[in-house]
């Protein structure tokens, strides 16, 4: 069941466009229902070889020796690929945007840091031959102690996981082991609030489980180029990563993809392309590297686990006045994209609410598990789980209806967010109102009348508590029609919002300074 509420925000839209807004059929649908859509593995080449990977059975171990002599002689084996064959055997995905240090080898040479870490590749005439040859490789390990818990990993004397980041945390701005968010004065606000709710939340890892597993086929082309058919969800990201690892100019690579059997974030990491290309270079033949479902499930990067501690302080009348969050992203053995998610998480700490005092520390922590990566809602999903469970607990503690409680605290246009940008284009209140109405969840009239927009109905406390107005009376609404058909105008991204004044120290009074660290008068 799906309904459009065209009446809400109608004055901000032009609903009379010709193609936009129509339920046009997907361009790719005929291919999908006839089986004609060509995914990366629907391309066939004579003499196709197959790459399979030997993976570490240990979460943490020193590799003492590798004996692949028997595998080399096995039927169908064309080439063994060792760490020394990888031209640039240390990379970090976000080096493409100059964020973080190279910390992850394509093939481990001396130490393995998670169960499933690639050590050696075998290129053979069939997947079966490659698998059978893998069984002949003898690796001797010295197992090392491992750390699996993010908080254990941060303790002094903990096992060091990642040689690039020996203290087990990603390094921010060359000086911090976490991302900070500081706004207002939480300690003072906690001292003055009526209710405090504090809890610990844990999301375990999640597998993307696309029906098509990660994979690619690298094919030698003319002029020393390689055509790469790939399941990537970021074509140039994967191309540039593969070029870096193979020390090739990017224009020697021709990536073709675009029709992908689901991704959900699990096909950004470029798990297969660099080694498939290397194998094609070393054999002169087309090579496919396709993850098995078992590999995809256990060794393909998951959505990382997150542990989140939240402490919220609220007033008896329902206003949240302080929030303190400490969050730990379990990045696994290498960085990949978790460092980025931690920053995104920090910005999201207040959620869609206006909270005058916010304090956050977000850590990206290395442990001896499969490196984590992006997944649908990256950096936000687990935090939303924690925050919205908190909201329910706070409403219960205060004795308020949970939807009214959310509407009361929801951000409105013009509110100041904890990352010091003004909220605009807000719509949380309207979502709450509509969902309540559809679910026959009773909320009081005054909450049904509230609005995200400037100058619309105020929160109930504005009149009840004149000494600490939550929302000052605003001028009559100016409902400006925004022209969305911008044909003819130059593309102009929004100018950055003006810098707001820094939050005043705790205890400053309301009204004149337009902001109270405890009572959270909204900036107008």
């Amino acid at each position: 069941m799906l309904e459009f509420r065209k009446d809400i925000f109608a004055d901000e839209r032009d609903d009379n466009l010709k193609e936009v807004g129509r339920p046009t059929q997907r361009q790719d649908i005929l291919g999908h229902v006839t089986g004609a859509s060509a995914f990366y593995d629907d391309h066939r080449f004579a003499g196709l070889l197959h790459l399979k990977i030997l993976r570490s059975p240990h979460a943490h171990a020193r590799i003492r020796s590798i004996d692949d002599a028997a595998a080399q002689r096995a039927p169908g084996v064309k080439r063994i690929i060792r760490a020394a064959d990888v031209p640039v055997n240390l990379n970090t995905l976000l080096s493409l945007i100059q964020f973080g240090k190279d910390d992850e080898p394509s093939l481990a040479s001396d130490v393995v840091r998670y169960k499933g870490e690639p050590i050696l590749g075998i290129v053979a005439t069939s997947e079966r031959s490659a698998r059978e040859a893998l069984a002949l490789v003898r690796v001797s390990y010295d197992p090392l102690p491992a750390v699996f818990d993010v908080e254990e990993a941060l303790k002094p004397g903990a096992v060091s996981v990642n040689a690039t980041y020996p203290k087990n945390t990603f390094e921010y701005y060359g000086k911090y082991d976490h991302q900070k968010l500081r706004y207002g004065d939480v300690d003072s606000a906690f001292g003055q609030c009526d209710v405090i709710v504090e809890d610990r939340y844990q999301m375990s890892p999640i597998e993307h489980a696309p029906t098509e597993t990660n994979g690619s086929i690298a094919v030698p082309d003319t002029n020393g180029r390689f055509v790469v058919y790939t399941s990537t969800q970021a074509l140039f990201f994967s191309l540039d990563t593969a070029a870096k690892i193979n020390a090739m100019p990017s224009n020697q690579l021709h990536f073709i993809g675009g029709t992908v059997g689901g991704g959900f974030g699990g096909k950004v990491d470029t798990l297969t392309e660099p080694l498939a290309i290397l194998a094609a270079r070393l054999t002169g033949a087309p090579v496919r590297y396709r993850l098995s479902r078992h590999e995809e499930m256990q060794f393909g990067s998951p959505r990382g686990a997150e542990r989140i501690y939240v402490k919220d302080g609220a007033m008896r009348d329902g206003r949240i006045v302080a929030r303190k969050v400490t969050a730990y992203f379990d990045s696994g053995a290498y960085t990949r994209l978790s460092s980025y998610a931690a920053v995104k998480c920090a910005a999201h700490i207040p959620g869609p609410y206006t909270i005058p005092n916010v304090y956050g520390d977000v850590y990206c922590v290395f442990t001896n598990r499969t490196p984590a990566t992006a997944m649908r809602g990256f950096g936000v999903t687990a935090l939303d789980f924690a925050l919205e469970c908190q909201m329910d607990k706070l409403a219960t503690a205060i004795g308020m209806d949970p939807i009214e409680f959310r509407i009361l605290n929801a951000y409105r246009d013009g509110d100041m967010k904890a990352h010091r940008r003004e909220a605009k284009n807000c719509a949380l209140i309207e979502c709450c109102q509509v969902a309540a109405e559809k679910a026959n969840w009773p909320i009081r009239e005054e909450y049904r009348r509230m609005s995200s927009r400037r100058g619309a109905a105020s929160a109930p406390h504005a009149s009840a508590r004149p000494e600490a107005p939550r929302r000052q009376p605003a001028p009559a609404p100016v409902q400006q029609r925004i022209p969305y058909d911008r044909a003819g105008e130059p593309p102009a991204p929004d100018a950055p919002p003006p810098r707001p004044p820094a939050p005043p120290p705790a205890g400053s009074s309301h009204g004149a300074t337009r902001f109270s660290s405890v009572f959270g008068t909204r900036r107008r």
Binding site: R22, Q179, D384
Partner: protein
């Protein structure tokens, strides 16, 4: 031993595009000699509908019928750079790039038409059906096909356009976290109704009622696909999925779909969805991006509904029957239902 019903709510917002920006996407649009347009991208369609939604944006901007536009995705030799399909950035970033490219192509098309009709380009408009006509004098018109022929074979013009969209990279203050994470946000509120069996610990989701605000819905059916499928994934995350069921203990990891659990077609529930559209000032035709945020409210809404049903808080995901039973045991059985 009984089944208890409860319902819970959650509300969320979600930033659109890569956090902090700095994630460009480009597009190229060109016409063939019969006035049919190709959009060349290196962007990926992994099911979310990239090809389809950019096709609509291009057709709308050019002022031609949708059938006259084809979107070619993900070839690094022909498609210009795109950061990738993630972070709910496709519609917003790629859509804007396609819009810019289509605007440039449209300007050439209108100039070429003006030359053929011997009028000023500013006096012309498209009818959306493949013709260009003089405003106020629709009898004076020329087909896009004829304009394309004239442009290429007589006027020597290329009806083509380039587009890029970039939200400039934001700095982050290391001390305070001051930053510009995103230029627009999608919103949602979702109410989940569950039934908890206090004997087995099993949780059945009976119904979901939601309101999603996602800027302009460029294609209501594609939006519906995302919201229905995404909410299913949220329910799956809440109750079923993990490769490490006893995290941080690494044992007992699933190796196949018999062990990695997800709700099947018999485990789904009715989902009553309402869509709100508050256009994003910098979105293509006001669009944001529904792809990721649709899953997020489901997890806490289900957790809160379980509390409403049986009075226990499970703070660890996924909320398996084992965790529910342990929580019930810790608090000595389930109370009478507290359904609102």
């Amino acid at each position: 031993m009984a089944k208890h019903r409860g319902r819970g709510v959650a509300a969320i917002n979600y930033p659109i595009g890569m956090n902090l920006g700095g994630d460009p996407s480009q597009a190229l649009v060109h016409s063939n000699p019969s006035g049919k347009f190709t959009v060349a991208l290196s962007s990926i369609d992994l099911g979310q509908g990239m090809k389809s939604v950019t096709r609509q944006i291009c057709a709308e901007t050019l002022g031609v019928p949708i059938e006259d536009v084809y979107v070619d995705t993900a070839d690094s030799d022909t498609g210009p750079h795109c950061m990738g399909s993630f972070a709910s950035r496709g519609t917003h970033r790629v859509g804007n790039a396609v819009m810019a490219a289509a605007r440039e192509a449209r300007a050439v098309m209108m100039e070429a038409a003006a030359e053929e009709l011997e009028v000023d380009a500013g006096d012309l408009e498209t009818d959306g059906r493949g013709n260009i006509r003089v405003k106020g004098a629709p009898q004076k018109s020329i087909s896009v096909k004829d304009v394309a022929v004239a442009a290429q074979f007589r006027q020597g013009k290329t009806i083509s356009g380039r587009g890029i969209f970039l939200v400039p990279l934001s700095d982050v203050d290391p001390e305070t976290g001051e930053m510009s994470p995103a230029t627009c946000y999608a919103h949602a509120c979702l109410i989940a109704e569950v039934e908890v069996d206090d004997e087995t610990g099993e949780v059945a989701v009976l119904k979901m009622t939601s309101a999603y605000e996602l800027g302009r819905a460029l294609n209501p059916k594609l939006v519906e696909q995302q919201l229905v499928g995404g909410a299913w994934m949220g329910m799956s995350h809440a109750l079923y999925e993990t490769p490490e069921p006893y995290y941080p203990d690494t044992r007992n990891g699933p190796r196949d779909f018999n062990e990695y659990l997800m709700p099947g077609p018999g485990d789904i529930c009715p989902h009553d969805i309402t869509v709100l559209e508050r256009p994003a000032p910098d979105g293509p035709f006001g669009a944001k991006g529904p792809g990721e945020m649709c899953a997020n409210p489901v997890l806490p809404a289900i957790a809160n509904a379980i509390f409403n049903a049986v009075g226990v808080r499970v703070n660890e995901l996924p909320i398996t029957p084992e965790k529910v039973l342990r929580a019930l045991k810790a608090k000595n059985g389930a109370p009478a239902s507290r359904f609102r």
